[in-house]
Subunit: 147 residues, 2 copies
DNA sequence: TTGCATCCTCTAGCCACTAGAGGATCAAGC
DNA sequence: GCTTGATCCTCTAGTGGCTAGAGGATGCAA
């Protein structure tokens, strides 16, 4: 059980120092011990917790979902039904994002293949963007997903 | 050439009133004429411009890219090379998002299919999240893309 | 005239960070 | 002992692309 500085924890988990402080601020990580110099001191339990958080974020879980997952993982006697639900929801969300992006991709592909060498006045890219009727299919991807 | 209120423009383009004002504020839409009551008055040119913006946003173009595209479309004598470049970049970005999400999906699929009926202490979902070594492949999707 | 819809401006909130100011402390080398 | 540079601290503000709400003015129909 060795003590880690915030920098060492950051290196060990590949999570930025500022992000670690942020996670503490929003309550994903507990308030750590402090040395006499006021610096944060972490143990390996926090390292595991941060690794868990990082992994869940990489899988696209929102902070609120991670909060729930952490709470579950802190109470091993609870039913894990909620964990299953959260994971299934996340899978569905990713699926829906993928299909939206694929529709988008088709549309963009058509825009790109219309590329021209001339002036804007003849430019198919601009033209296609100007006129939605050029579109083969509806594409209503919300900005947040598409960007 | 009929005059439109902001509400009418919103309805015609399916863009929210507040979003229209926001686009004006960040300079995507010009400052419109104002009636004696200080209300905004739009013409059909602005309607086209807003439709253009909306379409580009649906395709995932960032506001800065849209600014450039609009400037091109305002100057039909310019070369459209830049429009081609922007479209190609956007396609590449979407492609990369799709492949990251697909990697994610595989990972999540494994998490979900590990769903159990028992207690958290036996829960594969939590366990897989706890230990990155369970992962078949690396997945480093930045949060912004994955969420 | 009443009442509701629409409009106005301005400010703050969303998410998950990220960056920077302005300063304290530490560790290594001379 | 002194310098130098890395690391740490807190606090505030910025990112993108909106969205929501306060607090009020105006328009329009019954």
């Amino acid at each position: 059980m060795q003590a880690l500085s915030i920098g060492a924890l950051a290196k060990a988990t590949d999570v930025k120092v500022t992000t670690i402080r942020f996670y503490e601020q929003i309550g994903l990580l507990p308030q750590p011990l402090r040395g006499s110099n006021d610096r944060r001191i972490y143990d390996e339990q926090t390292l595991s917790r941060l690794a868990f958080i990082k992994h869940a974020r990489q899988l696209g879980f929102a902070v609120d979902a991670i909060r729930t997952l952490l709470q579950l993982s802190d109470n091993p006697d609870q039913s894990c039904e909620q964990a299953n639900i959260l994971a299934a929801e996340q899978l569905a969300a990713v699926d829906s994002k993928i299909s939206r992006l694929q529709a988008l991709r088709g549309e963009l592909q058509r825009v790109v293949s219309a590329a021209c060498q001339g002036r804007v006045s003849d430019c198919r890219v601009i033209e296609v963007l100007s006129d939605h009727n050029h579109c083969a299919a509806d594409h209503d991807a919300p900005a947040a997903l598409a960007s």
